[in-house]
Symmetry: C2
Subunit: 210 residues, 2 copies
Amino acid sequence: MHKATPELIQQIVSEVLNEIELEAIPIGISNRHVHLTEQDFQQLFPGETLTPMKPLKQPGEFAAEQTVTIVGSKGEQSRVRILGPFRKRSQAEISMTDTRTLGIPAPVRLSGHLEDAAEVTLKNGEHCVTIKGCIVAKRHIHMSFKDMARFKLSAGDTVSVRVKTEERTTLFEDVEIRPGEKFILEMHVDTDEANAANIKPDTVGSLIRR
Amino acid sequence: MHKATPELIQQIVSEVLNEIELEAIPIGISNRHVHLTEQDFQQLFPGETLTPMKPLKQPGEFAAEQTVTIVGSKGEQSRVRILGPFRKRSQAEISMTDTRTLGIPAPVRLSGHLEDAAEVTLKNGEHCVTIKGCIVAKRHIHMSFKDMARFKLSAGDTVSVRVKTEERTTLFEDVEIRPGEKFILEMHVDTDEANAANIKPDTVGSLIRR
């Protein structure tokens, strides 16, 4: 094999990146939010019904009318949207910026992986509930089995997504694939990641399999 | 040339990334801060002296004892540190998260490039000054001319820096080189970028020339 000179390496990197940026991935920006069990919802909103306000892109999921206040050791964040439908475990997803502002030591974890999630109190007026379910969401792509086959990806694979933007082009590695029969192809990043890469609502990423 | 199959491309990408991650770049995380002209400082702190509290990594630069409040259309942020020494133009650097929270439409710009910077009011008690100098800092690397020669870089070049971290490995492109005779090698990212990539105070990046 030839000796890899810096110039040759640069040329290869450029050509490789140009070759492989083939697949456009729509990007959704997740603001802080909570998912609740029906039981926790009833404790916070006795007698109320979880009311859909706006459908989300993934089929059946919606932003609800109801919001809660997240209480940390350093501060509170009011008007945090509940996303429906109900889940088997309650979960709060905040940004790493929030972990510092609110004083909640939440780890970066894929949704549903709550083994070492932080404890957090959710509040609605005088009603409150404490859950061990606060995480900073790990970036991921919702993908149908059909799309996974098209991209030759398996459950558990991670990929990279390049986001070309004004002044802040970024390649996100460690992007997990979240397979689901009815999932619409969509990468989810949080507000820190969106801000760091200057992502706007219409920004599209490029899938790079690694 | 051979046909570039997806498998071959992946192998090349991996080998290339492994080959070229040679140069370690220390990373500094910039919290929101302001630089002031002596005149603007005197307007905010009549009769006072800008008092060094802690030296920064770059020679001669320091965090001052004094702080100001940044006032936006949606909110205020108190205790924003002044960095010294005085500059020829006053400048406030906030995160993109701050632009939304405070309601200040600051663009992503390299420090000192204030042509279309946002207008912002700085306040100390009843004293205040309004400057057209609020930006979201573009990521950059402080680099001495000696280091630039070592990396074979010229003024105006941009590079990429890969940051390998727990759960959030990220390649930052669009990283500008800021040359200076006495600069200590250091990449500056803001808090959004640090949070998006799970960067801790001891995280080191890898320079990738593009």
